[in-house]
Symmetry: C3
Subunit: 265 residues, 3 copies
């Protein structure tokens, strides 16, 4: 893992972000903190030009509208044509038909290197495709690992499914990540930020998408732990949010290597 | 007040927010801090679906554009049809004809459980409707309580008018809230956040809108006070903003009960 | 410099901001911290009304789209007609043809009191106009002071070019500002915030645009230094960002006067 983070810090990959306005600032600052660089541009007319200077594309469907959706499709196709990795964070898939449809359109039109969502978002994508459901061996009985595997197999993407235990799978391989803290759910944008961190790790390690995704998930979880340890006195959720980004900024490859907690299943 | 906040913490109401991009992150994080949950979706096509899973609708007219205005109207009607409370924060009413007109259209089309604005926004709404102006008994001679009462009576909404002293009225009952700090005006979004806190309290206590609004105003003011007490050394307005959200996160029902300062007039 | 900052604190100029959603919150809070007041409104329909109540117009082309571009053009013309200063932050000029064209259109249609960008943005504007390139005497051999001078001469604007050394020029006069910290580049929005601070200084000192711009650049750099000195323990880039805004809030005219480091060249 040390090498994967060191690569990121050396290459400082530029990540083209088309994302929601609620957490855009945290996404940009988290990318800078971990060692990448953000370019936030959500106009359709700029899709090709911005893609041509970027090392990866990050698409997040929060606060989606028609304009931004058109930009996502065009940037996604440009990323595929240019051979740079694209990541999808299907925020809100399952919450409205419009959102679920938009996410499906993106998945049909664009090859994503990684799809990162929570269990219900992954289930919405899975269900939309009519995949079978089952129960896989999992540390938590309700962990829908089958959904994640099915989406991964169907899309040829690495799927990261976030939860108390995070799951990373390419349909065949599967890793459970145990880093993290309960407090992460008390702050908005933790998922958006995780997706951005994954995009940065993958951009810097394009030959090794699966391991890069696992390392990114460990790094974010570890930042959540470090932030929890730093809480004291009158600190609350705002302080916690800042401590997470501070922890990404201060994370060394060595610490990540030593404190990552994951299990290959 | 203790029971009202405890209800909120237990029910974790989902609040559908259609709001401006300047303070959207603070609004979302403040909702999580007080115990609610935000869903930020401003597309017209999603209005009904998102409303159907939400406990309240929060509309804020900052950075208004035509697309978001259409979404507000449709979501407002959907909230009324579904019987969930809607709150309006008429940011900028009075600052431009377009904004004032948009706010008027919203008030005519949608029944709001609560309207929350500063004195000039409430006056703009009041003036627009041609209400009589007068001077009511008020701790500050210039406090336009009559405007607030008139808007409340005309719209059948609870009106929260923010200022040094906050006013809560349903046209008949009237409460002055004395919690708060001068520093709150040195930070952007304090009003947007207050409105969101009111929406969360009302969503969790729908049978008791007036008391819920009073409790929310006390809670926000108290968070402002706690934040002011925490200031030290090189702390400035950014620290203050964080301390307010931290204080919302750490506020107990008991503290709110004990330190709320309000007066029924 | 003391008088320029004191003017700002006394006049509390209202700055009409049409800006990107990534850093809008920092821009608004930084304006409040330094003593100004933000009004963020990006609708074309409101351009004249909002301009009529504002002391300056701030245009930032980050996350540009067609709607916001139309609002910028109309607000810019309204600012010119009303005789209030307009500032342009050409974020992303040079990164895409669309963005560069949009910036050129703005410069052709609107007279800007100040243009503030980094070296590549200023070069993109300069190159677009077919200006000659050369190498000027500069503390850093690669500092493209000629570009800045050429843009200033061509547009009759004061140009602020940010970098390790900041350059302020009106085409004739030229000042190098040495305040600042390496850490400022590890945070998103430092440039956007600087531009807003310049707009506020210029709004409060309209008869003295050049000196006001120099003072603003020194103030922002000094805030970056104070923030760097405050870093300790587990602090990272999020803490640093907060410390900068805190430092703007706490900056006195006297401190600015004493610690500003600039050189007239």
């Amino acid at each position: 893992m040390e090498a994967l983070l060191n690569n990121l810090r050396e290459k400082k990959p530029l990540i083209h972000c088309i994302t929601n306005y609620v957490t855009a600032n945290d996404v940009a600052n988290a990318l800078l903190a971990i060692g990448g660089a953000p370019v936030m541009a959500d106009s359709e007319a700029e899709a090709e030009d911005i893609t041509s200077i970027s090392a990866a594309l990050y698409i997040n469907t929060g606060t989606l509208n028609d304009m931004r959706q058109a930009a996502m499709l065009r940037a996604g196709r440009a990323a595929n044509a240019a051979g740079i990795p694209a990541l999808l964070d299907p925020v809100g898939a399952g919450a409205s038909r419009g959102r679920t449809d938009a996410v499906k359109k993106l998945i049909y039109a664009v090859k994503f290197a990684v799809i990162r969502g929570n269990a219900s978002e992954i289930a919405a994508i899975s269900g939309a495709g009519g995949f079978t459901k089952g129960v896989d061996a999992a540390p938590d009985d309700s962990l829908p690992v089958d959904s994640a595997r099915a989406v991964a197999a169907d899309t040829k993407s690495v799927v990261v499914m976030s939860g108390k235990t995070d799951v990373v799978t390419d349909g065949r391989r599967c890793v459970f990540v145990k880093n993290g803290s309960e407090l992460m759910s008390r702050v908005t944008g933790t998922g958006c930020v995780l997706s951005a961190i994954v995009a940065a790790f993958v951009a810097a390690n394009p030959e090794n998408t699966f391991d890069a995704a696992v390392a990114a998930v460990c790094a974010m979880g570890l930042a959540g732990q470090k932030a929890a340890e730093r809480m004291s006195g009158a600190d609350g959720s705002f302080s916690y949010r800042g401590y997470m980004i501070d922890a990404l900024y201060n994370m060394s490859g060595r610490t990540l290597e030593k404190e990552a907690r994951y299990e290959i299943v």
